[in-house]
Symmetry: C2
Subunit: 384 residues, 2 copies
Amino acid sequence: MPASLPGPTVGVVGGGQLGRMLGEAAAPLGIELVVLDPTPDAPAAQVATDQLVADFDDADAIRDLAERSDFLTFEIELADQERLDEVSEATGVPCHPDPATLALIHDKLHQKAALAEAGIPVPPFRRVDDADDLRAALDELGTPAMLKARTGGYDGRGNVPVESVDDAESAMDAVGGPAMVEAFVDYEREISVVAAQGDGEVSTFPVGENIHEEEILREMVVPSHSPEAVLEEAEQVGRDVLDLLDGRGVFAIELFEAADGRILVNEIAPRPHNSGHWSIEGAHTSQFEQHLRAVVGWPLGATDLRAPTVTKNVLADGDGSRPARVDGVEEPLATPGANLHWYGKREARPLRKMGHVTQVATDDESRAELLASARSLVDGLSFE
Amino acid sequence: MPASLPGPTVGVVGGGQLGRMLGEAAAPLGIELVVLDPTPDAPAAQVATDQLVADFDDADAIRDLAERSDFLTFEIELADQERLDEVSEATGVPCHPDPATLALIHDKLHQKAALAEAGIPVPPFRRVDDADDLRAALDELGTPAMLKARTGGYDGRGNVPVESVDDAESAMDAVGGPAMVEAFVDYEREISVVAAQGDGEVSTFPVGENIHEEEILREMVVPSHSPEAVLEEAEQVGRDVLDLLDGRGVFAIELFEAADGRILVNEIAPRPHNSGHWSIEGAHTSQFEQHLRAVVGWPLGATDLRAPTVTKNVLADGDGSRPARVDGVEEPLATPGANLHWYGKREARPLRKMGHVTQVATDDESRAELLASARSLVDGLSFE
């Protein structure tokens, strides 16, 4: 598609940190961003042209957003597929990715079933509506296993490890609704591929290694330490997943690299993702710029690694909600190759993602050295 | 100074492309920007928290700006030194750099005299109030020479080359006011050092080579092709200039590298400068982030080169003023290592700076190859 400047206006459902980093990427490209988010002064509002303060499923507000935009997209899975479809149809403003991908991904059981049906490798899984279902499934899949709420889970919420059949009742109570259970994968590491579907072209970022703790993604190491064959296979799986999804945009495909070298899809996010934040400094094009290019139909950018890179999330600690304030920022500011990213959230809550630090190699530092630096820098931050 | 997040709010006098790129750099750091500019919807307004629409010397507006800010700075020499001094004094909101630097730099004769007095090498110059003065000066300095308006010139406006003593009258008419004349320097190349004065520390960026045409800076090549001794001398001159100036911030020092290897200061800008735009992709810290760090008293960032880099300005062509619209953007978007920067100006006017393209090395491209690429990409753009 012919590209001209000034660029188009993109309406984004969701105005959190992903929207903020989309806004940071939009300005140099001459793309304007308008975001819709129910929280006034949302993180993205501070860099977007404007914010509409409204719920994610507010049909009138989504229509207002469309009328101010040349393209619609979303940065949160809570975006409402039906409203987006209706508004896009009524206004003629295209939405990328296709809202249908939200429906596919929203329900983890549907997501896994669609992947399996397309021949994409996933861990064995079963639908689970009650404790009897779960016990039957565990008989087949073995224990331990992971019980997952079909909808609404994120950052580990809605995921309940099940150690034995005896835990079936309590696990079902904990997950609290329609669920699926997945066989435990004996994995070497968790990795992810961030991939973009553009206008007739596909591009993938170098494969990153993800380090979780308490089910929350904490650290990303790029490139992953995986063997070359695994990296190639992961990239191919990423491309296969894109074939299955409709519409343009960036998708993150989280994978298990099994101990036996197999690649299994864990989850898909139909948007830029925490596991791709490293790309802001580590790649020639960031995942946020890439998403915007894809959504508006511009050529995709080069995704080569600029240098080995580690990103570590800054999570709030302490109890309860309080105004966000972090001390100890001198060290990350003064460390060569360290890059601070603050999301502009007004309130800190335990384990809330408040920002991240990316440590990029400036010399010939090993990935272990980069990780040690990022850990030391983030550990030195303190929430008041 | 202890640094904490969220960062401070910086009030910026001026809201052009420099303010816009300051805003792009501010968001990840958790720094908020408020800009003051007489043009509604100025380039910086699109990324700043807010814009005050007012003249640069509007005392009430500058006071409003200060009251919303923790620090004041400026991105345009038209900022009013006296107003800034008064407001900073009255409100206790510090202004960096010290507004006195504006007075020093505003008048090119004062600037050169101060540099000469400090022992910093400059081309021979004379004060020129009328054609008789000019003829007398040319007798001493020889021809050709450069007649410069003492105040108000930029992008070559106010600079009049004088080929012979016979041109004295017409040159004085062209420059139209108090002036100075400088001996012609037989230079090998024009180079510049972007340097930052932080809170007790000084940092310089790698020396860049500047290619002018019709007195307008068109292209920057980094690092400069200068011999190593010249690069070291240029950096030292940059540090000497910072010693002379008060207050924190980024300064650009434009230099002549004379054919005999001497370094002579051409001009100083007390702010981020066109010759430092390459640093956004080419250095670990951009000049805009560095300016913000310096102004708020945070540690300065690493300025090492990430890769050889060339930047070429995108200047509007054609006649008269018209809505800004550029076609042919596919190529820069699709070229690996090319980065598009659009300033968001609503109107195109001949030779107005509308954006720039930075070509960073992705492999082992030579600087000549990078320059050829940047030229080809910018030549392929067309203003409607």
